[in-house]
């Protein structure tokens, strides 16, 4: 008690020493290295999959989990053994595992994934993006055919706000004379289609209010309550329709298309790829919104939703 400063300093030194010794031992940013270096990289639930077992992952996003479950059940119907690794956070968590081969199938979104691997990418059309993505992916990974369904960021306003300021396109935001706040996940701040992109493409100033539910109910609530004027909501989100929101058009292609694109490892052979392709081919924008609606409004589990949909499509 007599020498608080000295004690704190010692403690700081101890903490720093801990950090330093740890830092020296490995390259922290080598995400692939760290994951491949650890046999337990597949997470807490299981050991290494057998060669004939396909590991299917999903983002920490309910809609992504449904798509993963679609692939999983379709593969199981064809006699494959599937191990599920769902809800594995965001890209920085799961991509190292995908790259290391611990996960074989991962439903992804084309535009954002391309930007993750190549921040300078210039492609804007779905086809160009797909081609660029095939190039950008690390060795051992390949994208399968994209679905028609997209689930991309979109700027939304309430019907009332749109009518008050006669808004249909992002460009119309220039005519709004009040300060604009947009609710979105925090990474939106640095995305090319975020505030800076919006300023560059349309000359509109916005500030971000981070809400980490990926355009979920809280984001929508913030918009409807009038706490924010704009909300970044994924285009496949059923609440756009149920809350009667207006998605602002993006004539400058500021936001890259996010077609649902499975990323697979070499463990996925042509036959297995064909099964996934077949599912993906039936996955239209409307179908995806429908699936999401079942999850959010009927609170159905991904397994039930997938089972019903595959049966309805004659796929299982």
């Amino acid at each position: 008690m007599k020498h608080p400063t000295r004690r704190s300093a010692l403690a700081l030194a101890a903490v720093a020493a801990l950090a330093l010794t740890g830092c020296g031992s490995s390259d922290p940013l080598g995400g692939g290295d760290t994951a491949s270096g650890s046999p337990a990289g597949t997470g807490g639930t299981g050991g290494t999959a057998r060669a004939d077992t396909l590991v299917i992952g999903s983002q920490q996003y309910y809609s992504n989990e449904i798509i993963a479950e679609l692939y999983a059940q379709a593969l199981e119907a064809e006699g494959y053994t599937v191990q599920r690794e769902y809800q594995i956070g965001q890209r920085e968590v799961y991509l190292p595992e995908v790259e290391s081969g611990a996960i074989d199938v991962m439903p992804e979104y084309s535009g954002n994934l391309l930007q993750y691997y190549d921040a300078e990418a210039t492609a804007t059309s779905p086809e160009d993006i797909h081609a660029a993505l095939a190039q950008a992916l690390p060795e051992g990974l390949r994208p399968l055919e994209p679905a028609e369904a997209t689930d991309q960021d979109s700027y939304n306003v309430t019907r009332q706000f749109a009518e008050k300021h006669s808004l249909t396109s992002l460009a119309d935001l220039r005519n709004v004379d009040e300060p604009l706040k947009v609710a979105a996940n925090s990474e939106f701040e640095t995305r090319p289609y975020g505030p800076e992109g919006l300023k560059k493409a349309y000359g509109v100033d916005v500030t971000v209010v981070p809400v980490e539910d990926s355009g979920g109910p809280l984001t929508v609530k913030a918009l409807v309550d009038g706490d924010v004027q704009l909300a970044d909501i994924y285009s496949a989100d059923p609440s756009i329709e149920s809350e009667d929101l207006v998605t602002l058009e993006d004539p400058e292609n500021l936001i890259l298309p996010q077609n649902v694109t499975p990323i697979v490892s070499d463990a996925v052979d042509e036959e297995a790829a064909a099964v996934i392709d077949e599912v993906n081919a039936k996955l239209t924008a409307e179908e995806l919104i429908g699936l999401n609606r079942q999850s959010v409004e009927e609170q159905a589990s991904s397994a039930d939703i997938a089972e019903e949909w595959l049966a309805g499509q004659g796929l299982a």
């Binding site: 403690a11 903490v15 830092c23 031992s25 650890s38 968590v93």
Partner: protein, 216 residues
């Protein structure tokens, strides 16, 4: 409550993952804290640094620790080892002080009596000091158990399986029942563990039981 009934396997799965992560961490925290606490108790010079260091550890936000730790120890973010190490660190942060306090509180008479009786040092530590410090250590361990179980949920933000996934998923889908289930189960797990520790403590330290039926 429909959501609960429809998702029992999922809930069981998450509960299991939660226990599988938090229980080893609690145990590891105890095993690490005893020698550390002893050092802090035995060597005055180490007392300040160890206890303040431990206190500071608790001030590190859990979320970045979950991310930074794999960078430091070379595991994957979702690696069970990563989560356990992080939770263990927090547990140690709380428990070292209890161990040191408990050992400090051992009556010197008891200790010198043991010395006088000719106990060798390690045996004396294990059979006299540690049991007498037991009640204080136990109360620290109870806090650690409850807070570890509660803290374990934070990993869900990174996709680390636990009951916390019910929060993140329910949050995105707007299912209150899912979040509530997660909260209640976490609390129940913590409290059950707490009662269990109390019961274990009574078994292991019969002398701490309140004397029953003694006239006033």
């Amino acid at each position: 409550m429909n959501w609960v009934l429809d998702n029992l396997p999922l809930i069981a799965d998450r509960t299991w993952a939660h226990l599988a992560t938090s229980l080893p961490a609690i145990l590891a925290a105890l095993l690490v804290s005893v020698p550390l606490g002893w050092l802090a108790h035995r060597y005055r010079a180490l007392n300040g640094p160890v206890l303040t260091g431990a206190g500071l550890m608790y001030a590190i936000p859990s979320l970045p620790l979950f991310i930074v730790l794999p960078v430091l120890i070379g595991t994957g973010v979702r690696d069970a080892v990563n989560v356990m190490v992080a939770l263990t660190l927090y547990g140690v942060a709380l428990l070292v002080r209890s161990v040191a306090d408990g050992l400090d509180g051992v009556p010197p008479e008891a200790r010198s009596a043991a010395v006088a009786l000719g106990y060798p040092p390690l045996r004396r530590f294990l059979t006299v000091d540690l049991p007498l410090a037991g009640p204080v250590i136990l109360s620290g361990l109870r806090v650690v158990a409850v807070s570890t179980v509660s803290l374990c949920t934070v990993g869900a933000v990174l996709g680390i399986p636990s009951l916390g996934l019910l929060f993140t998923d329910g949050f995105q889908r707007g299912i209150m029942a899912e979040i509530l289930t997660g909260i209640l189960l976490t609390a129940v797990l913590a409290l059950v563990l707490d009662r269990l520790l109390v019961a274990l403590g009574r078994l292991a330290m019969p002398w701490t039981r309140k004397a029953a039926g003694v006239d006033a």
